[in-house]
């Protein structure tokens, strides 16, 4: 597996690992394709993401995208955070090997799931956000080379 230097950096020294005890929203998603799991904790104040933490059971790409995704959303508004897609995370990591593209969906979906949880708990509606699914891969039909 040829990971970029950035991926390896975020894998070896993952940012934001951990738990937020009084999180505003928590999301956990699994990837049926590989059986990996990611959980995201968000602390949201005044519509802005003040803190983000994660726990991930997954491959190097899953850990690195978790780390990068939480870095990217910190300080952003909810609407801005929705733009942190798997593509954006991959770009920030200088790309992923083709067979690992699906791993980056885990981060995006876990983030969305946490935002959904926040919306539910606080009775707000977030424009453009869809309810979380059990299997991330149903959403992303990734063009894994054969």
């Amino acid at each position: 597996m040829e990971y970029s230097e950035k991926v390896m950096d975020h894998f070896m020294n993952p940012r934001n690992v951990g738990v937020i005890e009084d999180a505003s929203g928590v999301g956990q998603v699994g990837n049926a394709k590989c059986g990996d799991i990611m959980k995201v904790y968000l602390k949201i104040e005044d519509g802005r993401i003040e803190d983000a933490k994660f726990k991930t059971f997954g491959c190097g790409a899953a850990v690195a995208t978790s780390s990068m995704a939480t870095e990217l959303v910190k300080g952003k508004t909810i609407q801005e955070a929705l733009e942190v897609t798997n593509k954006a995370v991959m770009e920030a990591l200088d790309g992923l090997p083709p067979v690992k593209v699906h791993c980056s969906c885990l981060a995006e979906e876990a983030l969305h799931a946490a935002l959904w949880d926040y919306a539910e708990k606080n009775g707000v509606k977030i424009e453009g956000l869809k309810p979380p699914v059990d299997d991330v891969d149903e959403l992303h039909h990734m063009e894994n080379e054969e």
Binding site: G35, F57, G58, V99
Partner: protein, 393 residues
């Protein structure tokens, strides 16, 4: 980080010094085509036949029963397809196991599309097939039983002699994929009633891209590669003389050293296994505790994922594997670990360390020192472990 400790010898081995020295003259000096009549070609022919003797001797066969191929996969494909085609009139049923290498499994699937019926025997929690189940699955139209000698992931060694005996009592041919066994475990094709056997050079210090298939004299089989008259018309293609010479030498060396090397490796293996099980909670050994390859250690760690473990180990200069190297490009959890009954997420957290002659006790000690931290680092990141840790607290 450069690799300092190589513990993935089941994936491939470096070519041994003695082997490389033996094959070097055959690239530029004795390069003749073994099929030609002139002097330089005679050197090739001689080398070819010497290697055939060496390989045969290593498994108790006759030289004329050894056919060189390009590797274990080709030998496996040839065994299944060649026998299925040759015996199509006699029957169309093949028995194999759920834990074979993909070279057998995918060939089995191909044959099913061609009208064969294939039974994939289950295995117990240690990875062994049941002889009773095997016997029950035999039908009048069964033409071949193919059971691997030793598994590449969990190292479990099957009761080969008993399977061979049963097969021959029933008049059925017996093939074994011995890619992981040749040079590592004592094999006698006659005592074990083996009719066909696959091997691959790069698993025992010979180069990649060379292999062989033993075919008992008189066994009907069609070629997989048609063409020139090489290998008694069973396998066409200009003979890979350096590879062949290397395989011969490697088998000869491995068999001559087997007794002492096996003892040494079993000591290291068991130290590694017991050390890890002791030091790391929520860990379990995969495969049979004693009927296993001398160099194979395969352990599952709850709550963590294999690739991450490999990357952390690589960063320390340790090369290991998680499941079969051939399939690590795929995302499916190992079919072998599933077959021994591991749940998905435990199968994911498996680590395979395979030792060979290059490995030392110091290396084992290093791994034992480092592995608890590696596992802990990943568990601290794992949402699955969180729950366990919370429960305890």
């Amino acid at each position: 980080m450069a690799t300092k400790i190589y513990m993935d010898n089941a994936a491939t081995t470096p070519v041994r010094d003695e082997v490389l020295d033996t094959i070097l003259p055959y690239f530029k000096e004795f390069y003749g085509n073994a099929s030609s009549v002139y002097s330089i070609a005679k050197e090739s022919k001689k080398a070819l036949e010497k290697a055939r003797e060496q390989v045969a001797k290593g498994i108790g066969a006759k030289a004329e029963e050894i056919y060189f191929t390009a590797g274990g996969s080709e030998s496996d494909n040839m065994a299944l397809r060649g026998v299925a085609e040759a015996l199509a009139k006699k029957g169309n049923h093949i028995i194999t196991t759920k834990i074979e290498h993909h070279a057998i499994l995918h060939t089995g699937e191909y044959l099913e599309k061609q009208g064969c019926e294939v039974t994939y025997l289950p295995v117990d929690e240690f990875g062994k097939i049941s002889l009773e189940e095997l016997e029950k699955s035999i039908r009048p139209e069964t033409i071949l039983i193919s059971v691997m000698f030793a598994n590449n992931e969990i190292g479990t060694i099957q009761p080969i002699a008993e399977i061979g005996k049963l097969a021959h009592e029933k008049g059925i041919l017996f093939h074994t994929d011995a890619v992981q066994a040749v040079g590592h475990v004592a094999i006698d094709v006659n005592e074990m009633n083996i009719d066909l056997l696959s091997m691959s050079g790069h698993k025992l210090g010979a180069p990649k891209g060379i292999g062989a298939i033993y075919i008992r004299k008189g066994i009907p089989i069609l070629p997989l590669i048609f063409g020139g008259a090489q290998e008694k018309k069973k396998r066409a293609g200009t003979e890979n003389i350096p590879g062949i010479v290397g395989l011969g030498k490697a088998v000869e060396l491995a068999v001559s050293e087997m007794e002492t090397e096996t003892k040494r490796l079993i000591h290291l293996r068991d130290k590694l296994i017991n050390g890890i099980l002791e030091k790391v909670p929520h860990s379990r050994l995969n495969g049979h505790p004693t009927d296993r390859l001398p160099g194979n250690c395969n352990i599952s760690f709850g709550y963590i994922e294999g690739e991450s473990m490999l990357l952390l180990l690589d960063a320390m200069g340790v090369a290991a594997s998680s499941g079969s190297a051939c399939t690590s490009g795929s995302l499916d959890p190992s079919h072998v670990l599933m077959a021994i009954g591991l749940p998905h997420e435990i199968a994911h957290g498996s680590l395979r360390l395979t030792l060979d002659r290059g490995n030392t006790e110091e290396e084992v000690d290093f791994i034992l020192e480092k592995i608890p931290d590696v596992v802990q680092k990943l568990r601290d990141m794992s949402p699955l472990y969180e729950e366990v840790a919370n429960k305890k607290a």
